[in-house]
């Protein structure tokens, strides 16, 4: 039995590799200096989706992302690794969204896609670490959720049930949940398979409309007419019947009051070398002061 699988993915600034130019001279975050990457946990979710696709021939994996036009990059990346289709949700009015407005927008897109059996996403995104969008999307769709998933152990499409191993505080648990379902996958789950060379060749020219330069329009239209899979579906707020009160800044209950750059108050510190005399001196000082015993 074929499944309709949806994967939620986000393009994020790579906050794990913050270089010296990550801050501007004014002390603000220089987003341009941070490379944009496929959110790591979302790749783990994609892998679980691709495994289901292999297990149930005829299944499709569709990737949904919301962001700037260039976030179509994560769709291409997912296509290279085995996904079948992608949806980029991009619209000026969606900017400034907190997790709730984001979840509303994504849930509207999922409703429009419709007919899904399982929705998988990463546990959290590295730019915010909130882990909120998965559960909020589930709530908006009226579905239950399994968060912190490590592995999908067994999916029974006839009985509409899935057994999942998940991480809990200090241990693991195995749960059985009904389909359709939202699952968020941990970064410690199986890593995503690499790109497939043939798929890279097939999809490298796939684009979303917002990415295309006007002078390319004709050539791209011709290419898509011959190869429809080169078009990445792009939706704005109107395409997903979004209630404008629930998207973007307006739909976000949380407000950022202030943002402070971190300035540490320097302590008076003693600087030592790695010489034997310095290390022994420190150990003796700590022992004498009964700081270590």
């Amino acid at each position: 039995m074929a499944l309709k699988i949806i994967v939620l993915a986000k393009q994020v600034p790579d906050t794990r590799n913050v270089g010296p130019d990550a801050m501007t001279p004014e002390g603000t975050v220089n987003r341009a200096a941070l490379p944009a990457v496929f959110n790591p946990d979302d790749l783990n979710a994609l892998e679980q989706a691709l495994r289901l696709k292999e297990q149930f021939p005829g299944s499709t994996v569709s990737v949904v992302t919301m962001g700037l036009p260039k976030s179509a990059e994560v769709i291409r990346e997912a296509l290279y690794r085995g996904a079948d289709a992608g949806y980029v949700i991009t619209d000026r009015c969606l900017g400034g969204a907190d997790t709730l407005a984001t979840s509303y927008t994504i849930s509207q897109a999922i409703k429009k896609i419709g007919g899904f059996d399982i929705i998988l996403g990463g546990r959290q995104a590295i730019d915010g670490d909130t882990a909120q969008v998965g559960p909020q999307v589930a709530e908006k769709l009226g579905l239950t959720q399994v968060t912190y998933a490590e592995e999908i152990l067994n999916l029974d499409p006839e009985a509409k049930k899935v057994v999942i191993k998940r991480h809990i505080d200090g241990g693991v648990e195995t749960v059985e949940a009904p389909l359709p379902l939202v699952v968020t996958v941990n970064g410690s789950a199986a890593p995503c398979r690499p790109r497939n060379a043939k798929r890279v060749m097939k999809y490298k020219n796939a684009t979303a409309p917002a990415e295309r330069k006007p002078e390319q329009a004709e050539a791209i239209a011709a290419a898509i007419a011959a190869k429809p899979y080169l078009n990445i579906t792009q939706w704005g707020a109107a395409d997903i019947d979004a209630d404008m009160k629930q998207v973007g800044k307006t739909g976000s209950p949380t407000n950022v009051k202030t943002v402070k750059n971190i300035v540490f108050k320097a302590k008076e510190s003693k600087t030592l070398t790695s010489s034997d005399a310095d290390v022994e001196g420190l150990i003796v000082e700590l022992l004498n002061d009964k700081i270590i015993g």
């Binding site: 709730l100 670490d129 909120q132 239950t144 809990i168 648990e173 402070k260 150990i283």
Partner: protein
């Protein structure tokens, strides 16, 4: 009405430390606001559960006791909070930023359309002016709010600290990691009210959709939170083999071993040893940071340590600015020397 609520997470029949810490913080917030502190205890076999929480200054304990409420699953606990909050209309709701709180909090906030801030490191009460538009002269119009919850958290990979306010929606929700707040018994004889709710009134049978087939919870392999000395390694340890030197040093000086997020991500140490905003917060007497550069994420979890010793071959590592002792050198060189001279001098 208008109270500060804490969702108490219960493992078996024991309220978790993170919830008790939040009760202490919640009591302070409630005092500032001049309102009551209330808590929700949901689980199975909870007779006498109020004795674990009341002494932290809880005015009303809401008990939901039914067989399907432990182990935790998302829908029934969400239904409890959503339906209870519709009746009680609290202004603030706090919960632990662990697996349960991070599963439950977003669901509840979505159902109630209220804002939620994850992994706060500080919570304060203050005023807030929000820009709500512009007048005919294009001057900004601001709306003034008093007594709002400041939800303070590092953001953007820990490079900034943001103060988040959700002025127009209730409850104002925040999750906080274990160890970030301090738990303190307010009064052993504190007298609050215990309300035992009819669970079926709050949770329709149809909400029990997830079955827990199997569950293993192990006692923590270490006691980072209670350790008086912590040896902690970062990405600068270079390899798993080098990282293992820290266990040798820790064994010698009776310390626990912690790790930065980068070291955990690199596979040098287990996830449960991670110290920082998204890990454990610690306050040991001595914190020895080995090859840790000191991103704010990490510093948020250890800056209240008594004495901080930084071993780093980069003299400009940010962590050096908060260290009491800075040893300029490689971990490969310094750590064996520390073991050697500890052995020599401690006898």
């Amino acid at each position: 009405m208008n109270s500060v609520f804490v969702y108490c997470e219960i493992e078996g029949k024991t309220v978790k430390d993170v919830s008790l810490e939040l009760l202490t913080k919640g009591r302070k917030l409630a005092n500032t606001l001049g309102v009551q502190l209330e808590c929700v205890c949901a689980g199975s076999g909870l007779d006498g559960i109020e004795n674990q929480v009341m002494k932290y200054g809880v005015d009303r304990v809401h008990v939901f006791d039914a067989p399907g409420l432990f182990p935790y699953t998302s829908n029934p606990h969400t239904a409890i909070l959503v339906n209870l909050f519709k009746e009680e209309d609290p202004q603030i709701c706090l919960m632990g930023a662990d697996v349960v709180g991070r599963d439950l909090g977003p669901r509840v906030s979505s159902a109630l359309f209220s804002g939620l801030t994850a992994d706060c490191t500080e919570l304060e009460i203050g005023e807030f002016d929000m820009n709500v538009g512009f007048d005919e002269n294009m001057k900004p119009i601001t709306k003034h709010y008093e007594n709002k919850l400041y939800q303070i958290r590092p953001a953007f990979g820990g490079n900034i600290v943001a103060t988040i306010v959700n002025p127009e929606h209730r409850p104002q929700m925040a999750t906080v990691r274990e160890g970030v707040m301090k738990k303190e018994v307010l009064d052993e004889n504190y007298k609050g009210e215990v309300i035992r709710h009819d669970v079926a009134k709050y949770v329709p049978e149809t909400e029990y959709v997830v079955r827990v087939l199997d569950r293993h919870v192990e006692k923590a392999k270490h006691n980072l939170k209670g350790a008086s000395i912590i040896v902690s390694g970062g990405y600068g340890m270079g390899s798993k083999e080098n990282f293992d030197m820290l266990f040798d040093l820790a064994k010698e000086i009776h310390a626990e071993v912690g790790a930065s997020r980068a070291a955990v991500d690199a596979g040098f140490a287990d996830h449960d040893r991670q110290i920082g905003q998204t890990g454990v917060t610690v306050r040991p007497k001595v914190y020895i940071a080995c090859g840790i550069s000191g991103q704010i994420q990490h510093i948020a979890g250890m800056q209240e340590s008594g004495i901080i010793i930084s071993i780093n071959n980069d003299p400009n590592a940010p962590i050096n600015t908060i260290a009491d002792y800075v040893i300029n050198g490689t971990v490969e060189e310094v750590i064996p020397k520390m073991i050697k001279y500890y052995k020599k001098n401690s006898k």
